[in-house]
């Protein structure tokens, strides 16, 4: 076959796959990802290490006063930490005793989901998508004595599963193959999630909220009237999330927390980020638009857990 024919066949093949669209495209991408994973894993290790190092150096311009203050705070915190470590060890002993008792006589209880540890092994080659490739073929972190539920790793993972680190939601699985999965970050414009805004009660910075329960009135925010605000959070594509249609009278302020609302994919409340900006909605005088900074910098993302609900979750399906 001449080179010209090969090129013609290649172009024709591209046309066909272009017309077939995402259905074929997703499958082909999942086939290729495991080929890139071995070197990609090492590459991402270096990338994340360099990013963390650069971020550390960027913070080196702190003033001497700030350094002294931080050192004082650190010493104070070290003292507090030592006290709590001691207390923690004491409680741990008591807890072990109680757990032994509970295992023997108490009802069975478990987290209603399985956590699959995974690693980020690649970023997209083009900057148009905010996704990550995950290596979910290796399950680690299980220790002796733990309850481990069987999970067939040769099966594809379902879409829309939540992806978290130990402390925060970082995105959802947008598509998955047998040995790789695509993680859509919370900052991706296509990312949407039901969420709650939890306002921080700060005695030094009191705020008035309009309470609509019972006789409507203006009240100072306190622990008893601080109900979470149900919202829909959307990735803004510029490193944050946007929450629109929030009533002005809720008095949301920078520093408040955005957390997940329990749904069938994530039966837990996990932190998503912190409110960084509140601005007026140009189209509606009574609403504000809230910008949220994610809890974790996606650039430094390396180890994550995929949350698989044990009951009531979606049926596994690949691409």
């Amino acid at each position: 076959m001449t080179k010209k024919r090969v090129l013609t066949a290649a172009v024709a093949l591209s046309l066909v796959t272009t017309v077939l669209g995402d259905a074929v495209g997703g499958r082909l991408r999942n086939l290729v990802q495991p080929v890139l994973s071995p070197l990609g894993d090492a590459g991402m290790y270096l990338t994340v290490a360099i990013r963390k190092n650069l971020a550390g150096r960027a913070g080196g311009d702190t003033s001497p006063e700030a350094v002294a203050r931080l050192r004082g705070e650190r010493d104070q915190l070290l003292g507090i930490a030592a006290y709590w470590m001691h207390e923690s060890d004491k409680r741990k002993g008591q807890l072990d005793e109680l757990l032994k008792f509970q295992r023997s006589y108490g009802p069975a209880s478990a987290l209603p989901c399985e956590l699959i540890p995974a690693r980020v092994v690649g970023e997209p080659s083009l900057p148009y998508a905010r996704t990550r490739s995950l290596n979910v073929g290796v399950a680690d972190g299980a220790g002796a004595g733990q309850v481990v539920l069987a999970h067939d790793r040769s099966k594809a993972l379902p879409s829309d599963l939540a992806v978290v680190t130990a402390s925060a939601l970082v995105g959802r699985i947008s598509g998955a193959g047998a040995f790789s999965a695509q993680l859509r970050l919370v900052t991706d414009p296509e990312f949407k999630t039901p969420a709650l805004i939890r306002r921080i009660v700060d005695p030094n910075n009191p705020r008035e909220i309009y309470v609509t329960e019972g006789a409507a009135s203006l009240q100072l925010l306190n622990e008893s009237n601080n109900l979470p605000i149900e919202v829909q959070a959307v990735g803004n594509g510029r490193g944050g999330l946007a929450v629109a249609d929030v009533w002005r009278y809720h008095s949301v302020l920078p520093g408040d927390l955005l957390v997940t609302r329990e749904d069938r994919f994530l039966p837990l409340e996990v932190r998503i980020g912190r409110v960084s900006e509140v601005r007026n909605d140009p189209d509606h005088a009574n609403w504000v638009i809230v910008t949220v900074q994610p809890e974790l910098d996606p650039a430094k993302l390396r180890n994550v857990f995929i949350v698989v609900p044990l009951a009531g979750g979606p049926a596994p399906r690949g691409r």
Binding site: K3, D22, P124, S125, Y128, Q182
Partner: protein, 190 residues
């Protein structure tokens, strides 16, 4: 063209582009993340060096396909595999036609050709993927926004191209059997 070293190079370039290469990305600009397309630099380098246009078309198609397969885009962006392979092949042929009128060793020429290559390839890719979107997701604002991002990517990639061409030039003999250019008189004859 030596195809085995070329395939290894494509693999390495894509691994670098999806990992270490992302260190060069500006993640939070007003128009969205802006990063270089390293595969485009390889394509421009080949477009300046190869003698055979068909070989160049094939090589660019392979590079484009590799980018397509690792682009990370899903159904929200059309998600098809193939548009970038087509766009790369098309852009490489355009550069191949243009190169004869220029001094290809000059960095300014490399920058200019890389800019044209990226604008053509990424402009075509964005257009095809937008057309492939469902009517509910398609909008001029979104198309224009992504085009601006593609334009910034083109400028950034073009700025890095002379460095890339210089580095690839060190390995040119492993990649290209017979290089383009006019025959020079040997030292002995001179």
């Amino acid at each position: 063209m030596r195809w085995v070293p070329f395939v290894i190079l494509v693999y390495l370039v894509i691994v670098v582009q999806t990992t270490l290469g992302r260190l060069l990305t500006f993640p939070n600009t007003a128009i969205g993340p802006v990063g270089p397309d390293l595969a485009a630099i390889v394509a421009v380098f080949l477009a300046l060096r190869l003698r055979d246009g068909v070989e160049l078309g094939l090589a660019a198609w392979v590079l484009g396909l590799a980018v397509d397969l690792t682009s990370g885009v899903g159904s929200e962006f059309g998600g098809a595999v193939g548009p970038m392979a087509l766009a790369y092949a098309l852009a490489a042929v355009v550069i191949f036609r243009m190169r004869e009128a220029m001094f290809r060793e000059r960095p300014v020429v490399q920058v200019l050709l890389a800019l044209i290559f990226c604008l053509l390839a990424h402009g075509t890719w964005v257009s095809i993927q937008t057309v492939a979107l469902g009517s509910g997701q398609r909008s001029w604002a979104r198309y224009w926004g992504t085009l601006k991002q593609a334009g910034a990517l083109a400028v950034y990639t073009a700025a890095l191209t002379p460095i890339g061409c210089w580095a690839l030039g060190k390995f040119a003999r492993f990649l290209i059997a017979v290089q383009a250019g006019r025959a020079r008189p040997s030292r002995a004859r001179r």
